[in-house]
Symmetry: C3
Subunit: 343 residues, 3 copies
């Protein structure tokens, strides 16, 4: 079985030729008129499914697959067994994704406000907005055309959502201006008070008023149960296209550039700035008030304590240049070898 029709209605059929065109690739063997109805991994795909191969580990499955065709990059074409059909394209993963999207389009917006939702009379909804059961849209909020507000989502007072945003079930969003096509997955928390307080002479904590906002640029995506605190005075900003995985934490006043990728459980402390295209592995973290340059790559579980120049690859806790960290691990491992028994 490939795709379960209980969750994804039967795909929009394509011909093999159309699929190749969508993938920006060329068909090697096969009948361009063959009807394709689904997708599946190499080991599970059926004779009217398309599959893909983009790493060598899966090569052994090429001989066995029953898929109608396999999307693969030119360098793997020589490994295609006799009689198999391929769609050859430079970026097999992207190409395959476009075929899959054509077969299984994003479900259309179902415009309308569910009878159980609570929309404040002083909120404004654009054309064709879908509002789910028990959603709350507070006073002064502006929801752009074509947005989907999921069940139980709460859109706080004054929040602005651009066109085509998707807010998942149980997400909450306050003190936020969001661009177009922003996605919040279920349970995401955006705009709550940051973790800021002063200590009184008597040793009590006194909350610092958190008077900033969250700015989410176009196409930002925020994972399930991830948290983005609003700024304390200036704003917390996520640059266009930036994607946070589940359970990520973004402190107040953090700013990221465009197209950053933060994997699950990443934590960024307050006022830190990330350049464009920064990638952080799972469970890594950055201290507060640090500058991370463009395109920096951070290994999983690393801990960054000070500025990192553009283009660097860092790892370890504390994080050092990756090459140095790898040498340190190697040296440590040598030290850990049991001493040779005297002969």
């Amino acid at each position: 079985m490939a795709v379960d029709p209980r969750f994804f209605p039967a795909g929009v059929p394509l011909t093999l030729g159309e699929a190749a065109a969508l993938a920006g690739g060329t068909l090697q063997g096969g009948d361009a008129a063959l009807r394709i109805t689904g997708v599946g991994p190499l080991g599970e795909a059926g004779p009217s499914d398309i599959s893909f191969l983009h790493n060598r580990k899966a090569l052994p499955l090429l001989a066995e697959t029953r898929a109608a065709a396999v999307v693969l990059p030119p360098e793997l074409l020589p490994r295609l067994p006799e009689g198999r059909v391929a769609i050859v394209t430079k970026d097999a993963y992207l190409g395959f994704g476009r075929i899959a999207r054509a077969l299984y389009p994003v479900p259309p917006v179902r415009p309308g406000v569910h009878a159980t939702a609570h929309v404040d009379p002083a909120a404004s909804l654009g054309a064709g907005v879908e509002v789910g059961p028990f959603a709350v849209i507070e006073s002064g909020a502006e929801v752009g055309a074509g947005c989907i507000i999921g069940p139980h989502a709460v859109i706080g007072a004054g929040v602005v959502l651009g066109e085509g945003c998707r807010i998942g079930a149980h997400a909450s969003i306050s003190h936020c201006i969001a661009g177009r096509g922003v996605v919040l997955h279920p349970g995401a928390r955006v705009g709550q008070e940051g973790f800021g307080f002063a200590v009184t002479p008597e040793g009590r904590f006194e909350t610092m008023p958190q008077l900033g906002r969250v700015l989410l640029e176009d196409a930002v995506e925020i994972g399930a149960n991830a948290c983005v605190d609003r700024g304390s005075q200036s704003d917390t900003v996520l640059g266009a296209g930036t994607r946070l995985d589940n359970l990520v934490q973004i402190g107040h006043n953090v700013r990221t550039g465009k197209a950053c990728v933060l994997v699950a459980h990443v934590g960024i402390a307050g006022s830190t700035r990330l350049g464009n295209g920064v990638q952080m592995g799972g469970q890594s973290g950055v201290a507060g008030h640090v500058e991370i340059g463009d395109r920096v790559q951070v290994a999983a579980q690393s801990g960054i304590l000070s500025d990192v120049a553009a283009g660097e690859v860092v790892g370890g806790s504390p994080a050092w240049p990756m090459r140095e960290t790898l040498r340190a691990f190697a040296a440590l491992r040598r030290l850990a070898k049991p001493a040779a028994k005297p002969g």
Copy 2:
């Protein structure tokens, strides 16, 4: 005070003899007819409570406890002070748990759909289901007999829940087939889109359609605010009895065997597989596309980057065999000693 009746109604009384039988143990001293009404830790239990002892650290409390009897393993019986009463059983913790459960049974299901809940006419509810305030059950969902759907929980379109599942407050579940007795604690997120996207030649991210499901086998438990993403093409699978603690992250296409235990903040990246009985300590993580064998034990905060054979015990970040990691820490600590002052 032992157990607060505001939250746990007065226990179902037992005799001491019945308690010993439930624990699979034998009574040492004491009156088998004595009436037991509660449980409590050694230092807090009263004269009609049962307590337990399963590690040596708590031995000093044995002399002081006012408990009617103490459940303990045979090897600790010689330490029982004169005149104290014990229930002796090989697994004191399990035995004590069974006594506690008999005294304080799981609250019964209260069948019925709360007036404020929203159940789609095309959803089906089994016999004796309890649906809480503001819960949402979408079209095509099938809820098995005796399930409890907590307040604000959202059961997505087409989801199947076996008999006797308990879905906590604010949990959301979509694209999922669950077996019997599955438990989601409050705020758990199951079935949302995984973190998968391709990069276009222009540098934009394009979401890969996430067309798989989540399969939760019987008796799986998922902690508060934990996240389990659905598969991208194949399924994300948690094997029977597997338990996730709070705030755990499971990426798309991950598969675990039976009876795995993942402590809080664990993260498993996409397409990784765990065998049966794998145990992972808090804040540990595994990279994507890795195979972890049966019964592997992973120390807290470890980071696994490559396959681990069945039965291994690993630790550290990056994770090595535990013995080697401990030697590395010891060597490092020696290096860290201040150099001896020249004499």
Copy 3:
């Protein structure tokens, strides 16, 4: 722009003299009668805003700021450029916070139960309580005067909230007795079952009844999507004033002293105790059944496996005294240097 009026209504104006008094400071230069209407960071504040400076990094901005006055500590006063106005006070951060709070008071409680909320007839609400849309207050719960219960929050059966608590959107709280002024941020989970189970001889997991409570002392704050499990037999306790950042995990039976600070993604395993004033950096963790003394400081990403004496500063995973850990890192870094080429 300083503060966005869409989210924070125009401030309550102050004179500069009043502001200095609120900060417990003295005005250096400037007109005590000048009208102040807002706050802002040095680089963004306008001529009727107050700003502040409490670290040397921001000194270059002092010359450029357009702020009406800058709150700063006496040791930075000599750096104030000619003609600039300062409010000089020992703790600039606290002083500035008090000015900001006076300008932007916490929004007042709007007493009343929203028409869509579900309050059980056997729950009791104190005077002036605000209950938001779709909130649920279960049987026997007691909500103190002046509490704010946010949209979709669930207050479980028998829960007691002291006066002036603020429960955020989508938070859930059960089996809990909370003091005055307790704050739960959106999606916080308090009182759910802890992660406790015994293994049967057949290898199945059997849940240990979790019969304790959560006690939250006055002014405890719990971050967005953070989790606090209830005790198994005794209680889980957070001491007065303790603050948890987002996504923190507190296991069953944990007890903290007063005024502890736990940064995002911290995890504390079951039955561990923290003294007063313990501070733990982001992504750090403590094993179960450990004692951490008063005022211990724990570096980010550290892992504590055994008891730590009062006043210690520890770091690393496993955590050692910080000085030792820093020496170990330095030694490791030397080892990682490429061997000098013979020459």
